[in-house]
């Protein structure tokens, strides 16, 4: 059949990278306020955080803060890098850091990560930033560290930084804003950057048109998109096209623990045993992703955190007999065609997923099929994403498909399982929407917070994994992917499975690291 090949724009020079990083809807609005949900994605590389966090495994990399220390679980001391300057040449100092945090305190709408939910006091003295936390809270470091710093001398005069669009951004990042039109904007290399020597790319171009078809046909160098049949589409369109799809989260069934019978661990185990995660992954992600480990970790990214005592690296395989046994233990009966609840009713329940999330939908359909095989009838509810969020937050669901457990392993467990976040059905919460309560989990989480000792933290994480594995707060199905697509003809040094230094996300702060590592394949003959 007709093979669609890429046709790069010949006017784009070898020092310029075409990035599909920002999708116009259909056009761009000029909003570079890094604290806004609707900001242009490039705002995340115009401004820099104190600490760069690797979305793959949660590794902390010094960025504007060149080092840090946690003398006790309630204190953090960061040291600001020297020689950093804003795009307008003004040096970046502790004053800017101080301003940024005060501003976040004054305008909580901008405090997207919730830093002030944890900080008690913050003192800046020259390059030293000393923070006292409200309680022993060692995991607060990445939350506070990811705060991006904005220039005091430009922001101070702004009446309301939470509604300010910051159309002419001045940051400290490796690139500064070039031209901006409603359909495309460009970033130019910032020669005054503290890492200027590592920036080999002169220009970045962000067009608004970044549908999958555009990615394949317009010769993009870097894109982040799920591409169906990637081998025959993206890869076939250009010989230098490559992809790398590491896991970025666990897609699983989130039972509502306040709704019977999902409060019964045997039911949850029965469900987990009845499902073939590999097949679900195959159907949902065309086989590009693996079935997820019930350890709650992203494997292989977080292999080093894995509790070695878990069987099969925590993966629960399909075992229909065991599944039926588990259900029977919970008082269910199975007559070969229908699974009945202890009350004798046929066991049916609804799985909620968001309309338009096609991989989830396919996963649920596969789950529906597989549970159907042991006589459990599943209905699929697919409200619009907003309604899905509302249903989950308020607990108005039986079982939902959801994504959990990101790069920060502890944060993942804590957000999902901490009783601190528990609210009954009807009240809303964004964390622990599964309404899980476990004294053991709470105890482990508190202990972890109070610890700054890596060995102890690791040991607690192992315990959390075991709990996740046996109590199944969430039934892990498969890994959600980080869908990195790149072309290595003009730029090299891309992260790969062999060198997984960062994921290929074009949003967030990933590009900070990737763009400072890439090298031009051929230098201009000048």
């Amino acid at each position: 059949s007709l093979q669609i090949r890429s046709r790069p724009d010949p006017t784009i020079g070898p020092d310029t990278m075409l990035v599909a990083g920002d999708k116009g809807t259909p056009t761009f609005t000029a909003n570079f306020n890094p604290f806004h949900a609707n900001k242009r994605t490039a705002a995340s590389i115009l401004y820099e955080p104190l600490i760069w966090i690797n979305p793959l495994d949660g590794e902390l990399v010094p960025w504007l803060a060149e080092s840090w220390d946690q003398p006790d679980p309630q204190r953090i001391v960061l040291t600001l890098r020297e020689g950093v300057s804003w795009h307008d040449g003004t040096p970046l100092t502790g004053e800017d850091v101080d301003y940024t945090f005060r501003m976040l305190q004054d305008f909580p709408a901008n405090d997207v990560a919730g830093a002030w939910g944890r900080i008690d006091t913050l003192e800046v003295d020259g390059r030293t930033i000393a923070i006292t936390l409200k309680s022993p809270d060692s995991p607060a470091l990445p939350v506070i560290g990811q705060t991006v710093i904005v220039p005091r001398h430009l922001w101070e005069g702004v009446a309301d930084p939470s509604t300010w669009r910051n159309e002419e951004p001045v940051g400290s990042g490796p690139f500064q804003l070039g031209t901006f039109t409603a359909l495309q904007y460009t970033l130019d290399r910032f020669p005054g950057h503290w890492q200027a020597s590592s920036i080999d790319i002169e220009h970045l171009v962000y067009p608004a048109a970044s549908e999958e078809l555009d990615l394949v046909t317009k010769g993009y160098d870097w894109a982040y998109a799920y591409m169906s049949d990637v081998e025959n589409t993206w890869m076939a369109a250009n010989d230098a096209n490559r992809y790398w799809f590491p896991p970025g989260g666990i897609i699983g069934l989130h039972p509502n623990h306040d709704v019977a019978p999902f409060d019964d661990v045997d039911v949850r185990r029965g469900l987990a045993l009845a499902l073939d995660g590999r097949q679900v992954a195959e159907v949902a992600a065309e086989g590009y992703m693996d079935e997820a480990s019930q350890s709650g970790l992203l494997l292989p990214n977080q292999e080093d955190l894995l509790d070695p005592s878990l069987p099969e690296r925590g993966i629960i395989g399909q075992d229909t007999q065991a599944a039926i046994a588990a259900f029977e233990k919970a008082g269910f009966t199975y007559d070969g065609t229908t699974m009945r609840t202890p009350e004798g009713e046929p066991f049916t329940f609804a799985i909620t997923t968001a309309n338009g999330y096609t991989d989830w939908l396919r996963a649920v359909q596969e789950v529906q099929r597989e549970l159907g095989a042991i006589g459990i009838a599943v209905d699929i509810d697919a409200p619009q994403p907003a309604a899905y969020e509302a249903n989950l937050s308020s607990g108005d669901y039986q079982v939902a498909v959801g994504s959990s457990n990101g790069s920060d392993a502890f944060q993942g467990f804590s957000n999902l399982m901490s009783g601190e976040y528990y609210v009954p059905v009807g009240e809303t919460s964004q964390n622990n929407r599964i309404r899980y309560r476990s004294a053991e989990a709470d105890e482990l989480i508190t202990r972890y917070r109070a610890s700054v000792d890596e060995a102890e933290q690791s040991e607690i994480l192992h315990a959390l994994q075991r709990l996740f594995h046996t109590d199944l707060p969430v039934i892990a199905l498969y890994y959600g992917g980080l869908w990195g697509l790149y072309n290595q003809a003009r730029f090299t040094g891309w992260p790969t499975a062999e060198d997984p230094y960062a994921p290929l996300q074009t949003y967030g702060s990933s590009p900070l690291l990737v763009l400072t590592r890439l090298r031009r394949a051929q230098k201009e003959a000048s």
């Binding site: 169906s228 309309n355 338009g356 596969e366 697919a382």
Partner: protein, 300 residues
């Protein structure tokens, strides 16, 4: 004018009218083609489980396969047989077409007739409601209602299309009713002691059969297109197999890139064919309600 003495006892008038109408439609060349095409689709839909080579949701085949002897139209990105989906998709389109078309026709008949019959304040009130429905933008309204009722499956789609699609038909029926209302036989029925509902639905309604049938086929066409549009936008129920969802998945999995031409082409073509068949039938019905529209030439 006078009937032969040996005339057979006539059919009940409604049936006789129907039979006469069908005959008139059948004599119309375009309408006949339409009836045949529609008939084919109906057969396809009814016999889908037996005709389709596979279960439309069976995803055990290779993904994005090109057409072959096993899979005439290839497979989807999820490994389902395109041909089987196409055949099963006819069911949804027909269901929506006839369901939503039928419901909206019923609404427009009831409202249009009452509107045309009553006078004074009630008439003004209906006028107001219908105008409101005409003024509120259709597709956006449909989208809003569809998102509101997003988890009811195909019946919600049918309801949404029906609710947003009746007003125009009501308006057409109203003017026809108003003109029939002035006819003596309506006044005469009143003199025979008939009550309003019976006059509206027994005396006036049967005289508008062809207009209503035309409205129905028009509404069915619109409903089929609307369903496809909603499904394509992802606002319907993406788990069902319909031509609209096929297009949705085709777009979603970049059928163009993966070379699944059939997945992209066939559903759209089927929608067009089905809608065309209804339109062709309507040509014939137009001929009944307006004899001047019957085939013929002006001799110019």
């Amino acid at each position: 004018m006078s009937a032969p003495e040996t005339a057979p006892r006539p059919l009940p008038p409604a049936l006789a009218g129907l039979r006469g109408g069908l005959r008139t439609i059948w004599t119309h060349r375009k309408a006949r083609i339409g009836l045949i095409v529609l008939g084919l689709f109906v057969v396809l839909a009814v016999l889908a489980p037996w005709i389709a080579p596979y279960d439309p949701k069976d995803n055990s085949f290779g993904r994005s396969l090109a057409g072959s002897a096993q899979h005439w139209l290839g497979t989807t990105a999820a490994g389902e047989d395109v041909l089987s989906q196409l055949i099963h998709g006819a069911r949804i389109s027909l269901l929506v077409g006839f369901g939503a078309g039928g419901i909206s026709t019923i609404i427009s008949v009831v409202i249009g007739l009452c509107w045309g019959y009553v006078r004074g304040l009630p008439g003004e009130v209906i006028n107001f409601v219908v105008n409101l429905f005409l003024v509120i933008p259709g597709l956006p309204l449909m989208i809003v209602v569809a998102t509101y009722l997003s988890d009811g499956g195909i019946s919600v789609i049918i309801a949404v299309i029906a609710i947003t699609g009746w007003a125009w038909g009501a308006r057409v029926l109203r003017s026809q009713t108003a003109s029939l209302r002035g006819r003596d036989f309506v006044e005469a029925a009143r003199f025979s002691g008939e009550r309003a509902p019976r006059i509206i639905f027994r005396e006036i309604l049967p005289n508008m059969t062809s207009l209503i049938a035309g409205g129905f086929f028009g509404a069915a066409t619109a409903a089929i297109l609307a369903e496809a549009g909603l499904e394509y936008l992802g606002l319907g129920d993406s788990t069902i197999v319909s031509w609209g969802t096929m297009l949705y998945w085709a777009q979603n999995s970049n059928a163009l890139l993966t070379g699944q031409w059939a997945l992209l082409f066939a559903p759209g073509l089927c929608i067009a064919l089905l809608a065309t068949s209804l339109t062709l039938i309507n040509f014939g019905i137009d001929g009944i309600s307006n004899p001047r529209l019957r085939e013929g030439s002006t001799g110019r």
